[in-house]
């Protein structure tokens, strides 16, 4: 057994030396990179922990399509429009790449704000199988009483593993957070090192079955790269875990009596019609949000074909001022109606 102890000691010492070198060389950068990787967690935590200033409060859960200033963010634009008649506080809990798994993780914390309504963005481009940004770390924000329920939920096939759920709680512990950020930052730095570019094995998020729309590059051509079926062409079955997550997310709010609206985010349907097969009925069949949302007690507002191509500013279905205005116009009566309900006031 003496040899085994030497192996163990040598392994431990090597790890210690490697860790010391890495920390000495990259601590600041690593922590910063890790913090950046978890920026959505930190931003979202900040947004959720801010005290409520006025009523009614509407929490918007969404991705990058609702971020930014009022010019390009329809929740903000809507807030401006409603000011005067309904002094709503629109709390936007959004960051790039969030999707229903993230919304489910966050809903418990959102409900602790006792919102008058919750609006969730269903961006069809986010439904292409595995999430481009795994956001299970957002479960670190789950209220403690919500954890047991989350363990049973099929966030992904088999659910968010218990070990992940529990270990990510450590992100809430200040003494542990920085080392975790450092490890994540170091992983990121190494995985995105130039050497992988040279070897040609760097895994990029972009181009993996995404809808690539050349509009922002001047050629104004819609190209469906690699797999139409994986992007907007994907078929989301009603029994898939992601749809179960949609139902669970909506149900959580509905059970607490909080009105919840799910918005089918616009896609450039006219361009799709021109360039590839597009049929509204087929689109709705492939993204069966309405059934899932209404079954769970929510309200589904299908706006997937509400904005023409000229209303988008890039290929990631982000809206420009025109598209934002159009969305605000369409949603204003919906929000007025919801907030006028007795339970909404």
């Amino acid at each position: 057994m003496k040899r085994v102890w030497i192996v163990t000691l040598s392994c431990g010492l090597t790890l210690l030396v490697a860790a010391s070198v890495a920390i000495g060389w990259y601590w600041q950068g690593g922590v910063a990179a890790g913090r950046h990787a978890y920026r959505d967690l930190l931003e979202v935590r900040e947004t959720l922990e801010r005290p409520v200033t006025r009523r009614p409060v509407v929490v918007w859960l969404g991705d990058s399509t609702i971020m930014g200033k009022a010019k390009v963010s329809y929740p903000r634009r809507l807030e401006e429009r409603l000011r005067g008649t309904l002094d709503v506080e629109n709390r936007i809990v959004a960051t790039g790449g969030l999707h229903f798994e993230s919304y489910f993780c966050l809903m418990g914390a959102v409900l602790t704000l006792k919102p008058d309504a919750v609006v969730v963005i269903a961006n069809p481009t986010q439904f292409r199988g595995p999430a481009i940004r795994p956001s299970s770390h957002l479960c670190a924000l789950m209220p403690r009483d919500h954890l047991p329920g989350a363990m049973w939920r099929a966030l992904r096939p088999g659910g968010v593993p218990l070990s992940t759920l529990l270990s990510l709680r450590l992100l809430g512990v200040p003494g542990v957070r920085d080392p975790l950020f450092f490890l994540t930052g170091l992983r990121r730095a190494i995985q995105s090192a130039l050497v992988w570019d040279w070897l040609g094995t760097k895994a990029t998020e972009e181009g993996k079955g995404l809808l690539v729309w050349g509009g922002d590059r001047g050629d104004a051509r819609l190209a469906i790269v690699d797999s139409w079926r994986n992007g907007l062409g994907s078929q989301v079955r009603a029994d898939e875990p992601v749809m179960e997550t949609v139902r669970a997310t909506v149900r959580m709010a509905a059970r607490r009596g909080v009105p919840i609206i799910v918005i089918g985010h616009p896609v450039p349907y006219d361009r799709l019609r021109a360039e590839a097969a597009y049929d509204p009925a087929d689109f709705r069949r492939r993204f069966p949000f309405r059934e899932a949302v209404e079954q769970a007690g929510g309200l589904f507002v299908d706006l997937h074909d509400a904005v023409a191509e000229s209303g988008f500013r890039d290929r990631w279905v982000h809206l420009n001022a025109q598209g934002t205005e159009r969305m605000a116009t369409l949603l204003e009566p919906v929000m007025r109606r919801v907030l006028a309900r007795p339970e909404g006031g």
Partner: protein, 467 residues
């Protein structure tokens, strides 16, 4: 809790310290209880409710075990066996094949029921169920056949099924292999631990460095083969052959190594499968514990080769079809099993005419067998028969090699893989490793841990997790 995750590293550290340093070796019962609890914690990390199914299967197997023994009346034994098989295989059938069967029944009844869509069940597949159900079934059949005495200790029986190194992906352990090891405390020797560490290290290198890197290219091409040339597709098929081998044999190495850290032994699952000179030889080398299970409990039960050549061939085909279906509820898995069944039948029909004689013909036979196996992998990897057909069509159509990022690295890794697979016997690598100075080994393992922590794709579980 993937083996390559930080969480598992912490879990393993805690379990090793608890087992070896906290509980004295003379308290073997306490150590086994601790291992059982740790195994259930590990299993529940995926989904707590799945542990109830594992526990139910353990209870059913254990309770019915004594009633299966030869000293009981034949009628009672038969009833106990039927209950055990129906209970365990029923659970497997429900969880794994429920949706598949319903969808196909609805499809068959289509004209009669007005093409109604099948009901949505949304059944989650409890991880590892295919493996532990087969282990309980083998135990029940062994006791029934009088090969094994029924287990008297529920602790031992539950640990046999739930022991964390093998509960998720095998190897499919027979009760006769593991239960006797639980009778008295195993002797943990330095050489055994060194070998175990070497196997764990090699397993991780196989998974993280080879399988995951090859997998990225395979996923790209198999997702949509249309834009690629036949050269790309062929490279992807070869890459998949080695990806699945490195992935599964890497897992097996880690599992055997982990068991070794507790002084326990698990059976081998691979013996350089791509060195096989025939399809039959391939199945003696690939997923050995499953092949042996199918042979002993399906093929032999169907009559084996005792009922004439015609029936033997039917039995072979049926066994392989079931083997295909075991891998997943999909027609492409059935087709894969059927394809291998046909290969085995053909080999049996051709007899000695296809046996290699001499070195050159042996290598030629290896080359042919490897390509036959690769054709099967296309059926296995594709998500449907239509997708598999697309891959075959692309392989047969003209076209140039499309430069794809990473193809060079994939080709280089494949060259290393083929060379090591062909030239090094499986045992050579870890036997060589344990001969190097211990301080050097320690540094190597540290490098492997760093490799896993920094490079392992946390979203890339082992392929066989889904089965």
């Amino acid at each position: 809790m993937l083996f390559s995750s930080l969480e598992f590293l912490v879990f393993l550290g805690v379990v090793l310290v608890g087992y070896h340093l906290v509980i004295p070796s003379r308290r073997w019962g306490a150590r086994k209880t601790f291992l059982l609890c740790a195994s259930y914690v590990f299993y529940m990390a995926w989904h707590p409710v799945f542990a109830l199914i594992l526990l139910g299967s353990s209870l059913l197997g254990f309770v019915l075990g004594p009633a299966l023994a030869p000293e009981w009346p034949a009628r009672g034994r038969r009833i106990a066996l039927v209950v055990s098989l129906v209970g365990n295989l029923g659970a497997l059938g429900f969880f794994k094949y429920g949706e598949f069967v319903t969808a196909n029944v609805y499809w068959l009844l289509g004209p009669a029921i007005g093409y109604r869509p099948p009901p949505v069940w949304s059944i989650a597949l409890p991880i590892g169920i295919s493996f532990y159900v087969f282990e309980v079934v083998s135990y029940s059949l062994d006791v029934y056949r009088g090969v094994l005495r029924p287990c008297r200790s529920f602790l031992d029986f539950a640990l046999f099924l739930a022991f964390f190194p093998h509960v998720l992906c095998g190897p499919i352990v027979r009760a006769g292999q593991l239960l006797p090891q639980f009778v008295r405390p195993p002797r943990l020797e330095g050489a055994g631990v060194e070998t175990a560490l070497a196997r764990i290290g090699i397993g991780f290198v196989k998974k993280v460095l080879f399988a995951d890197t090859l997998g990225a290219y395979v996923d790209l091409v198999f997702a949509n083969p249309s834009p690629y040339g036949p050269g790309n597709v062929l490279l992807a098929v070869y890459a998949y052959a080695y990806q699945i081998y490195f992935d599964f044999s890497g897992y097996t190495d880690i599992a055997i190594g982990l068991a070794g850290l507790f002084g326990l032994g698990l059976p081998e699952n691979f013996d350089r499968p791509y060195m096989a000179t025939s399809p039959r030889d391939f199945w003696r080398r690939w997923h050995v514990t499953l092949s042996a299970w199918l042979r002993d409990y399906v093929y032999v039960s169907l009559g084996g080769n005792r009922r004439g050549p015609g029936r033997t061939q039917v039995n072979l085909l049926l066994t392989m079809l079931l083997g295909g279906l075991w891998h997943g509820a999909g027609w492409h898995f059935v087709a894969w099993g059927g394809y291998h069944g046909i290969l085995l039948v053909l080999e049996r029909m051709l007899g000695k005419r296809v046996e290699p004689r001499g070195v050159v013909t042996a290598w030629l036979a290896r080359l042919v067998t490897f390509h036959l196996v690769c054709a099967g992998w296309v059926l296995f990897r594709a998500e449907s028969l239509a997708d598999a057909w697309l891959v075959f069509a692309r392989l047969a159509s003209p076209g140039q090699f499309v430069p794809v990022p990473g193809a060079g690295v994939v080709a280089a890794l494949l060259a290393i893989a083929i060379a090591t697979h062909s030239l090094l016997a499986a045992t050579t690598t870890w036997r060589t490793l344990v001969r190097i100075p211990p301080w050097c080994q320690g540094m190597g393992y540290a490098a492997v841990i760093i490799l896993c922590l920094l490079l392992a794709q946390q979203q890339a579980p082992f392929i066989y997790f889904q089965f």
